[in-house]
């Protein structure tokens, strides 16, 4: 049955089409939706007619239709027999309606089941399970909304990203070059294992740990805490299972990380600038800075 033949409500058709077009929908999709609405509206208005219509295998519908008219009413009217005929329909679809798509419908509204479920590969319903099953039906392309992969807002790497990276690189290199021209890296007198400088400090990124040595047993400060930090860091994505990236949804995670990060930063700054001879507390503006990079 083609679109021209099928009973429908043209008023609803025009109304839906206008609404869809006004909403900015593509004309082809809008027409499909309008047709589907028009047919459904007619069937809701005339339930008795729908009941009396003969059972048709979807293969026949697909072969008889010309794509555009391949029975838009199929999902609502094809009974359980369709399930048995579905494989045939899949095979016939390319011949009759090249773009017809097979979809799974959940026809909870179907009045009765005319044919037994096919046995091949489909599990039998469990005993005592509610009376419901899935059917395969042919839907014309107009009747479905096509979802295409979201392209998103993307830009070419060349030139946009590469230029940005190049500029960042230039600025950084220029800064480092100027810094290195005017500031010499330290080189003290030759190493002497018999002469311990006062204070002896580790490189700056370990000064947080050295500072911890003042408060904890070396085993805790030097072994347990660094191990805990490394393992804890690596475990972060497996512990934090909150899928949101919005700061508002991640208050605990952000607070925890910030506190620990700041804790490390403060310890490093104390170890760097507030510890002098004998690794005792000093004020850098009073006793001077005992820190070398």
């Amino acid at each position: 049955m083609t679109w021209e033949e099928v009973p429908k409500d043209m008023g609803v058709y025009q109304q839906t089409l206008d609404a869809q077009l006004a909403g900015g929908t593509d004309r082809r999709v809008a027409e499909g939706r309008a047709r589907s609405k028009a047919i459904r509206a007619y069937q809701q208005g005339h339930p008795d007619e729908v009941e009396e219509r003969p059972v048709r295998a979807p293969a026949a519908a697909a072969a008889g239709g010309d794509g555009a008219g391949a029975s838009a009413a199929a999902p609502a009217t094809v009974p359980a027999a369709a399930a048995a005929a579905a494989p045939a329909a899949v095979g016939a679809a390319p011949a009759g309606a090249a773009t017809a798509t097979v979809v799974a419908a959940a026809p909870a509204t179907l009045p009765r089941r005319d044919a037994p479920l096919p046995t091949g590969g489909i599990p039998a319903p469990k005993k005592g399970a509610p009376e419901k099953h899935r059917l395969l039906a042919l839907v014309p392309p107009e009747g479905i909304q096509r979802v295409e992969r979201q392209q998103g807002d993307r830009v070419n790497v060349w030139p946009h990203l590469l230029l940005e990276e190049f500029i960042a690189m230039l600025i950084l290199f220029a800064g480092l070059l100027v810094f290195s021209t005017f500031l010499n890296a330290p080189l003290r007198e030759v190493a002497n294992p018999n002469l311990t400088p006062n204070p002896s400090k580790a490189p700056w990124y370990f000064l947080g740990l050295q500072e911890l040595l003042r408060y904890f047993h070396p085993m805790v400060a030097g072994i347990s805490i660094p191990t805990f930090i490394l393992v804890g860091l690596a475990a972060v994505p497996y512990v934090d299972r909150n899928p949101s990236v919005l700061p508002g949804d991640r208050k605990i995670a952000i607070t925890l990380f910030t506190v620990l990060f700041m804790f490390g930063a403060v310890l490093t700054i104390i170890g760097s600038f507030f510890r002098g001879e004998g690794y005792n507390w000093i004020w850098p503006w009073a006793q001077g800075v005992f820190f070398e990079l």
Binding site: E164, L187, R188, P193, G222
Partner: protein, 250 residues
């Protein structure tokens, strides 16, 4: 006067064989979407990138370029490090502290030696900083969430390797600052349970920081650790692309 028409070098077979189609150095590059995509796709270095990225990834306040800066610093440190290797011998026992006198000659008699050493030293400190900040950025934007969990773990390994590289390099000048910082830094390994002595020996090649330690850490610094770091870097970059590029906007 006869007009001599010079052949266009860019039309020669040699030139064309060097630059693949879409290269901006090839004749006929057009500023079209297709050639822009090819420019990335057909270039060995730019191929680290996909041909297109999400627009929000260009925003400076999203990434602060920290990952790129860390990588750039790694390249800079490799180049300056190779330069320094020509003038440095990791020896301290036989014939006095050769390492230290090499450091002095790098500062005084090697052309641009002082500048390159400064770049290497300051760049190394900056890299520790930029990698740490990069980690913080990734945390605050939630970029470690599925499917990027494993890349975060790779990143933690890279942070650890960066610290290792910086720490091993710290010993090489063989001055008072170097050996005592390393003595303090490694003394903690002596407190590890069960394997204190073994850990110390493995790290130092002896009971204390000695010329053995210097050679050991030199090899780690110039060869072993950079090799491992490059392997992890490759996985890190590859996973960024495979996990769907940079993480989504906030």
């Amino acid at each position: 006067m006869a007009r001599i028409k010079l052949p266009d070098l860019r039309e020669s077979e040699v030139w064309k064989s060097m630059f693949r189609p879409g290269s901006i150095y090839r004749k006929g590059y057009k500023d079209t979407s297709r050639d822009r995509a090819l420019a990335t796709m057909n270039n060995v270095l730019w191929h680290l990138h996909p041909t297109k990225v999400k627009r929000h990834g260009l925003k400076l306040t999203y990434t602060f370029c920290l990952g790129g800066i860390s990588f750039f610093l790694f390249v800079l440190l490799t180049l300056t490090g190779i330069f320094l290797m020509f003038f440095y011998r990791p020896m301290a026992d036989i014939g006095g502290a050769v390492a230290y006198s090499d450091m002095q000659s790098i500062r005084t008699s090697v052309f641009f030696g002082d500048l390159v050493r400064n770049l290497h030293r300051w760049g190394a400190h900056l890299m520790v900083l930029s990698v740490t900040l990069h980690m913080a950025r990734v945390f605050y934007t939630g970029a470690y969430k599925p499917p990027r969990e494993f890349n975060w773990v790779v990143g933690v390994v890279l942070l650890f390797l960066t610290l290792g590289l910086s720490f091993t390099g710290y010993l090489l000048p063989w001055d008072q600052l170097a050996i005592w910082a390393i003595t303090v830094g490694t003394s903690l390994a002596g407190y590890s349970p069960f394997i204190a002595k073994q850990a110390n020996f493995l790290l130092l090649g002896g009971a204390i920081v000695s010329p053995n330690t210097l050679l050991r850490w030199y090899v780690l610094h110039v060869l072993a650790l950079p090799f491992v770091l490059v392997l992890f870097l490759a996985v890190h970059f590859w996973r960024i692309r495979k996990d769907g590029g940079i993480s989504g906007p906030l």
